[in-house]
Symmetry: C2
Subunit: 376 residues, 2 copies
């Protein structure tokens, strides 16, 4: 896998966006959030972790993006394909990029489309957003979902990055026996597994969740406690590890010492459901159809959250495999298949794999688990 | 350090917020962002990495916070001091918490204050925010900076968590010689240092930056390349490691093989500036005064970004040590001192330490480096 992308990839992304902007009568798109900013510019840094400075990218109807950014980012931005880079000494309590970005928008012309639909956020102070509206004098509206629709279909270069992230996690999961056994506190397991992911080539590990308990676990989003693993526990680790800015997102279950019948049965059913989801995830099927294929095996009700989702520059992005999402699946979409089963009162087990949709059906990106629960 | 906080700590935070809301004539505060949500609820999870679901906390003028959250968070939220927990099966493309949070706001009564000042963001879709405004029928305004002002002054329990994070990083920096030497590619150094932080007790490592080069580096926010360290290089590693949801944020410089005169001189000057900042950072001084104390030694101009910042639940938060920030320093504030010097055209060196402000002056939380550049 080569780092970064060829300039031609950014040109394609931009020309597609501009074609859609033309149809939607949008004069410029204003971007404030990391994935969208990186999608159109190639600007990759962990510095977004700091909330202190806003970053702006303006996509005009014609011509290349305009970056309006804190001066601390100028050198790195200079290495991207973006040429028009305007900076200020941020943070500036008087004018934190407001007049600069208002000027850039005025040059591009309105109406200004701002990502406003599901999963979007506005990463700038609301008070400054109001000032930009006034100062630019332009009309503001939503972006018509253009950025979300573009990001949903991955290029081959993007797929290779996610494949690389999956390969890292595959190798780390193979080594869980090195860092987890009966008696190991769960928080040590979490630290140890993050170390394994780094050793196997993750650039960084933005997400790790999991749980442990007899015949299942109670919650899949809690931080780890220091409770030690006990014989007969099921241990689940779910990671979002990053390679070159792209995520994998899948999990593995392990039996500690020995597998109970409840846990082994649940695991086999989860794998059956995952394979059913894999077969259902074809071009033309809807997200809710893939949900239904898995739910028929796990017995998941209509009121459930979701049994998988899109994946890419974010841990979760795009469609939801839920009864409420009728998005039609297309080639180039990356999905997670994530069925869950109840194993007792307040107890569950979940499983997750990563796939990419091709013309003829789904392709496996993570190395699918087998029906047998591995014992550590 | 004990994990989490006593309920009394959350009661204090809330009653202070409600006293300020009363003075500002705010009926309810609407919170959508992770640190603010956690500050008032104690809800700690890495699940915010997923952008797919909004999370809402409503602070009423009287009584405890109301959590309006995706059902996937109900079990974990049930372990906090929050009692009124309202959930929906998210993501729901028809109504993703909009009517639930509108109801909760209507019960609390307006005007609704929304964090809108520096460093804030709105973590929900703009289109849904507009719907909440309409559906609730309430008046919306900024929150008067209440959440930011409260978070700026740390309790002793918060200081202990940041101290614990600093101790982890101190120990990891002591071991850099194990993972970095002449010939080690910089990206391997980055992976190795994250591993060391985890081994020394970090829960996770949301931020690592750095650079390497002869007599300084070119950029302090770039991801690592695979270029190997060379003899005479200066290597800088800057980490934001987390313990129980609180950050440290400091860096260390190392000479690879041998220290050049330029690098050694710059390092001594950086430490001199850091100590000057340490002496200047006293209650009653302004942020710009601390900047001036350091800038007098490093020769930093007025047009610079900043030479340090607040610290806590985020990598950077609160004031900026810059010529433009006149915030008065108070006991309980956590600061980083982060001077930088140019060492050549397009080259710089930076240094950073962490302190807490006490009644009589600053207290060191990171173990300050000495003037001599350590050699690895």
């Amino acid at each position: 896998m080569e780092r970064g992308f060829a300039v031609a990839e950014f040109e394609r992304r931009l020309s597609r966006a501009q074609a859609m902007m033309g149809k939607a009568d949008i004069g410029a798109i204003l971007i404030t959030t990391e994935p969208e900013f990186r999608y159109f510019s190639g600007f990759l840094t962990r510095f977004w972790e700091s909330p202190s400075r806003p970053w702006f990218l303006v996509l005009p109807a014609d011509g290349k993006p305009i970056a309006v950014i804190p001066s601390i980012g100028a050198a790195l931005m200079g290495q991207t394909w973006v040429e028009d880079i305007r900076t200020w000494a941020a943070p500036d309590p008087q004018d934190d990029g407001v007049s600069l970005v208002s000027d850039a928008l005025r040059e591009a012309g309105g109406p200004v489309g701002v990502p406003s639909g599901p999963e979007t956020a506005l990463r700038m102070p609301l008070a400054d957003f109001a000032r930009v509206k006034t100062m630019s004098g332009l009309r503001f509206r939503d972006d018509g979902g253009i950025t979300a629709r573009l990001r949903a279909i991955k290029s081959e270069a993007e797929i290779e990055k996610i494949r690389a992230a999956c390969t890292v996690a595959n190798r780390a999961f193979d080594r869980v026996g090195e860092i987890a056994r009966e008696g190991t506190p769960l928080d040590e397991v979490f630290r140890g597994f993050q170390r394994l992911l780094l050793e196997e080539g993750a650039d960084w590990v933005p997400y790790l969740a999991g749980g442990a308990g007899p015949g299942g676990y109670g919650c899949v989003i809690s931080p780890a406690t220091s409770a030690p693993l006990a014989g007969g526990d099921v241990l689940m680790l779910d990671t979002g590890a990053v390679v070159d800015g792209y995520f994998c997102d899948f999990d593995r279950n392990f039996a500690v010492g020995h597998a109970t019948a409840i846990a082994q049965d649940a695991h086999a059913r989860l794998m059956e459901a995952t394979e059913a989801g894999f077969r259902a995830a074809r071009p033309g099927a809807r997200a809710c159809d893939v949900f239904a294929a898995m739910a028929a095996i796990t017995g998941t009700g209509e009121g459930a959250g979701r049994l998988g989702h899109g994946l890419g520059m974010q841990l979760t992005e795009g469609l939801s495999l839920s009864p409420r999402d009728e998005t039609v699946i297309e080639p180039g979409m990356m999905l997670t298949l994530e069925p869950g089963v109840e194993t007792g009162p307040g107890r569950l087990m979940v499983h997750e794999e990563n796939i990419v949709i091709r013309d003829a059906g789904a392709e496996r990106l993570s190395r699918f688990a087998g029906p047998d629960l591995p014992v550590i």
